[in-house]
Symmetry: none
Amino acid sequence: MSAQPTGPIGAPERQRDAERTRAEILDIATAEFADRGYAGARVDEIAARTRTTKRMIYYYFGSKEGLYVAVLERAYQGIRGLEQQLDVDHLDPARAMRALAELTFDHHESHPAFIRLVSIENIHHAEHLRTSPILPGLAAPAVDVLGGILARGRRAGLFREDVDALDVHMVISAFCIFRTANRHTFQAIFDRDLLDPDRRDHYRRMLGDLVLEYLTAHVGRA
Amino acid sequence: MSAQPTGPIGAPERQRDAERTRAEILDIATAEFADRGYAGARVDEIAARTRTTKRMIYYYFGSKEGLYVAVLERAYQGIRGLEQQLDVDHLDPARAMRALAELTFDHHESHPAFIRLVSIENIHHAEHLRTSPILPGLAAPAVDVLGGILARGRRAGLFREDVDALDVHMVISAFCIFRTANRHTFQAIFDRDLLDPDRRDHYRRMLGDLVLEYLTAHVGRA
Amino acid sequence: MSAQPTGPIGAPERQRDAERTRAEILDIATAEFADRGYAGARVDEIAARTRTTKRMIYYYFGSKEGLYVAVLERAYQGIRGLEQQLDVDHLDPARAMRALAELTFDHHESHPAFIRLVSIENIHHAEHLRTSPILPGLAAPAVDVLGGILARGRRAGLFREDVDALDVHMVISAFCIFRTANRHTFQAIFDRDLLDPDRRDHYRRMLGDLVLEYLTAHVGRA
Amino acid sequence: MSAQPTGPIGAPERQRDAERTRAEILDIATAEFADRGYAGARVDEIAARTRTTKRMIYYYFGSKEGLYVAVLERAYQGIRGLEQQLDVDHLDPARAMRALAELTFDHHESHPAFIRLVSIENIHHAEHLRTSPILPGLAAPAVDVLGGILARGRRAGLFREDVDALDVHMVISAFCIFRTANRHTFQAIFDRDLLDPDRRDHYRRMLGDLVLEYLTAHVGRA
DNA sequence: CATGAATGAGTTTTCATTCAT
DNA sequence: AATGAATGAAAACTCATTCAT
């Protein structure tokens, strides 16, 4: 699934082609849906940008909606388990929290299409995600690590007690997602590009400070 | 919401009807575009929910896009000058900043359609906002008051120096907008409704704390 | 009707205004129909370019078709009796014929809208002209003078006998009308502007030569 | 009319069907546009008279305008190279010129739709022809043969020197086109059908005489 | 698996005309 | 005589989807 095996000689070539075709369609479709929204994307356009034909899209995905759902699911799969890549057990809670925030920051920055798809899915009231089989697997990875750090910090008397892991996750997500999701109106109104590489480090540190100052505020000082 | 009568008293009835027709179309269209996105909204549907006909939409707005732009502009007009409603000069910088954050929080909470329209406009790369005549008037109101408070706080040695007004505005906006814009995917994944009235005060205070702890962190303590 | 009387003081001003309004509408409508054809012209556009409103067009002309017919009739009235302006009785047949051809040439050159309206009316199979009350008065003026000259020339043994007045009229019309009616495709294909003022005299003489050489060919030489 | 089979024998049936569908649409559309003008023609009507649907028109031609342009281009292609069909080198200049005039006469008589389309295109200021890729190929065929005959005639001292090939082409075109383009107004006013078969030979000879008498007038007599 | 052609149902847009005042 | 608002019918155009080969 992760390493791309060249496979034993004589392996079903056709199947591999099929997989490649599917993947190509998904790539193009991801770009199109992310760029134009669900209703705005065109099956014709997706097909035209693929090396295959429209018929193949229906062969593999059944419908435009089916294709969209596949795109959405693959995009969510991409961030699933993101936090597991992070080994923070050896770090103190504050450092661990900052590392997690920065990891999220970095990941979101490098996956703008995912963020736009999330915006689009919200426009559609998450109706596709809500019925997706991948849904149950999404919550835990996102907050488990965070919850662990938070618990450790509290036990150490470092973090405030009046927020839970979901609240912290929300703050981190809001900050990271806003930069991409609202980039264009922000730029139009304020003439500032939130994704300007020159400002990247500033925002990255800002996020860490924001979360940590908040979590550690007044704690242990009283 | 507050029916501000247009034109001088005694103005021709017809004109008042026209204004009413226009406004009614805009109301319905706002709901439709906010609910389904630009491409997903249907002119037919908007017309059907109005007391007038589809023809009138074209009479007043020229095209679906013209209608959308009118909706978007009116929505932005609604928040323009929001901050001016706030008299914070008599408050110390910290209280003033919290008041501003809470005002923004309250306003965004009560204008979900606006937030969804902003998301939608970002999906379209802000192409309509970018060329709108109202654009130039949007930046100042949003950051002038905030900038003033920030400056006062710094002069008093209370606020950190490494962020500007736009950065703070971004944090507040990100927090407030996320609750509405990403409500559905968040709810689907984590089974938590960010707009649950029972959690409203918690998030309101959380935003104030977040901003203030960040701004005042370490300052004057060194 | 011809001289514009300032009218007795106290004369019905309203009626004069009405006449002026009618005339203004006809002027604009002539330009629009000539420029875009019957189906291509827009009642809205005509009204917009007038100082009056669309309602007036319907008040005066009943319908788009009524307006078009009025435009067409007025245009034809403009050339009616053209030939009567010409006193050719004192000229010998050849000179008289050339004078008539040149008069036609000059008139057509200065009335491009009329020619375009004729083209447009032909596109519509002359259905409006065919039922117009002005139709009966159009034939005689156009060929009576020409017929007289032709008869004189024949009696004098100068002109050939195998053509009648309508044939000659057709040749003159074809030449004059072509310059305006087919100006644009001719220019596009051959890069020659048939209405270039520098070529005007050339074509004028050419028409006279064409008609006269044809009419006098071989006659009396046998 | 002469069904020139497209593509090599054995070409996929589907493609041949496509070509047939395209051609059928073009045939009907030619009739409709020529009959009602660009704005007056109805895509629905064209589709209804076809064995396919309106959707196919857009599939093949993209828009009403695209269809019109295709019709116009095909019509012009039809006369392209007309003159090449004529071998006039063995004829003396006078006979050659008459043969060319008569060929043009015959061709225009048998292509009334083309002439009406030219009128229509002129109503539109040749805007479509002007940007057509076929434009560059239209000039030469129309005047090259004519220019050659004219030059031969001059060298032989038979033709006048004060006109060029384009002038002669204009006279021939004006005569031939007028009969069809202005047929209806002419008939309405003068009650003479310029396309009456009984008058065909008369006009055909008349055109030849007209051109030749003009070209040979006075030459060599001085 | 692959492909161009085809399609039906919708969606936006237009336009001549009329109404209320 | 004049005006802006309103309208219904029709016109152009689009799109996801399926068919024939």
